[in-house]
């Protein structure tokens, strides 16, 4: 009784078989329905996220957020949806019409496709392919193509600038992201998502905190949100790659960005926070889903928090940070993890000692990094700018008439 979702799917399969359909057809139908359910779950999550994000943004900026439509503003996303569905979609003159209209669809699809392999609970997973991590990396790259298509086909200089920046940024940050993903793969000895979750005793955030940090930073750059929102920097290039989009065309980019942030949270939860695992989750998938959503929300909240706290970086800073700091650091983390793991395996230590040594190795790398950074750039003495105390209001000098 602890597994209602698989129970329903089995009942459904048997029902179709009972109707006398061919077995292959039944498999295709039930898989298609499963895919539709997971994808719809993604879209529903976005509707909730738009409200959550605006509420968080409101609170962090010392205001209330949406509170007019419905109780606590809960109906706000539905009002937005109705509005955006009834907006005219314009296509600018001189645009490449095919690429221009396909780009928003592709942007959304690239994010939704990741959901195919995310394990929600022990038995509730779209599909547990044995190259899950590679699949995520491959599918995630579609987003870059969508942004490029949108920027190039718009026939707009600002959009094209945004697309150039997207290539430089999203493509560059993919390198340390893939290296950071190699660490959990190495620790779990598998690329299957469910295997990685099952291997997490203790959670990989303890075994590989640096890889988790690198993954968090790089995936934020992949999403293209502040402080990495150069591809749509509104104070520099209007709206970047989606300047020319209106109505639902823009809406799809917006929704895909929201869903991407949540998906990044889900990936962080899966790779580093133990996924669905928790007390009692093995037997009760519902509990696993609950744990998974809580952990995902933690990752999501951290990303939103950083987004609302930090200003935008410059493009030369952005690329230097990636190529001169994150990439070497990620490579060193990978080397150290491999060597420490193998030597501990050859010595043969207990699991808790293994975890402790891994954590110590990571802390050591972090400490060494800070030392090297300090050696390269000597700490600038904090400048104290002395200001002349200025009276707020100066009394007018008495004039003698």
């Amino acid at each position: 009784m602890g597994d209602p979702i698989n129970l329903i799917s089995q009942w459904f399969t048997n029902l179709l078989l009972g109707w006398g359909l061919a077995e292959n057809l039944v498999i295709v139908i039930s898989l298609a329905i499963g895919a539709a359910i997971v994808a719809t779950l993604g879209m529903i999550t976005v509707i909730a996220l738009i409200w959550v994000e605006r509420k968080i943004a409101g609170r962090l900026q010392d205001r209330l957020g949406p509170n007019r439509a419905g109780p606590y503003g809960l109906l706000q996303p539905f009002a937005d949806m109705i509005k955006i569905f009834t907006k005219e979609i314009t296509t600018p003159d001189g645009a490449d019409k095919v690429a221009f209209n396909i780009a928003p669809v592709l942007a959304m699809a690239s994010v939704l496709l990741i959901w195919a392999v995310i394990p929600f609970a022990a038995t509730v997973v779209g599909t547990n392919i044995n190259v899950g991590v590679l699949y995520i990396v491959a599918v995630g790259s579609f987003g870059v193509i969508a942004v490029l298509m949108a920027g190039w086909s718009s026939n707009n200089k600002f959009a094209l600038l945004g697309a150039f920046r997207a290539v430089a940024q999203m493509v560059s940050y993919e390198v340390p992201m893939v290296i950071a993903l190699l660490v959990p793969v190495l620790l779990a000895r598998s690329m299957g998502m469910n295997d990685i979750v099952a291997a997490q005793t203790p959670w990989f955030i303890i075994l590989a905190p640096l890889a988790a940090l690198i993954f968090l930073i790089t995936s934020m750059a992949e999403v293209g949100r502040a402080p990495f929102d150069l591809i749509e920097a509104e104070s520099e290039i209007v709206a970047g790659f989606h300047t020319e989009y209106s109505g639902m065309g823009f809406g799809m980019f917006y929704v895909s960005e929201f869903l991407h942030v949540w998906t990044i949270g889900a990936l962080i939860a899966t790779f580093f926070l133990g996924g669905w695992s928790g007390p009692g989750a093995e037997n009760l998938p519902i509990l696993g889903i609950l744990y998974f959503y809580i952990k995902t929300f933690i990752g999501y909240f951290v990303i939103t928090w950083i987004r609302l706290s930090l200003p935008r970086v410059r493009i030369d800073q952005l690329l230097a940070f990636n190529w001169k700091f994150l990439t070497p650091l990620a490579l060193v983390v990978l080397i150290v993890t491999a060597i420490v793991d193998k030597s501990l395996e050859m010595v043969g230590v207990e699991r808790w000692a293994y975890a402790l040594i891994m954590l110590a190795a990571n802390l050591l790398i972090g400490w060494a990094t800070v030392l090297i950074l300090k050696a390269i750039e000597p700490a600038r003495a904090r400048q104290r700018v002395e200001f002349e105390p200025r009276p707020v209001a100066v009394a007018p000098k008495p004039t003698d008439n």
Binding site: L112, V178, A320
Partner: protein
């Protein structure tokens, strides 16, 4: 195993179908009144000068090239990480050497000045 990939194939169809419907639906219910001013390229109200597809900074191209090298080499590391249990120390050291060569390559690119923006 084949079922898994069938699911991925069906999921691709579904994932393309849902946003396609969302983009198509406004064509039925939203107004459609194009005019010359509305269709103009938006550049903050200033009249567009010249072609949009202009020359761009060569650095974008160089960064894309550097990425290509790294991404391809990283794909080779995935099988190495998956088979880590079965690898002897020699193979592990070979993998480490491979990553070190990557690091040296990064240093080379760095010294060449390909990572400088200005």
């Amino acid at each position: 195993m084949l079922d898994n990939w069938l699911y991925i194939g069906l999921f691709i169809i579904v994932a393309l179908f849902i946003p396609a419907v969302a983009v198509f639906l406004p064509r039925l219910i939203a107004p459609r009144k194009p005019n010359a001013i509305k269709q103009e390229t938006y550049e903050c109200g200033i009249e567009t000068v010249g072609d949009a597809w202009v020359q761009f900074k060569v650095q974008y191209y160089i960064f894309a090239l550097v990425f290509l090298v790294f991404d391809i080499e990283l794909v080779f590391l995935f099988p190495w990480a998956v088979a880590f249990d079965k690898l002897p120390l020699f193979a592990v050291m070979e993998g480490v050497l491979f990553i070190t060569i990557l690091l040296v390559g990064l240093l080379y690119v760095w010294r060449k000045g390909a990572l400088e923006w200005a």
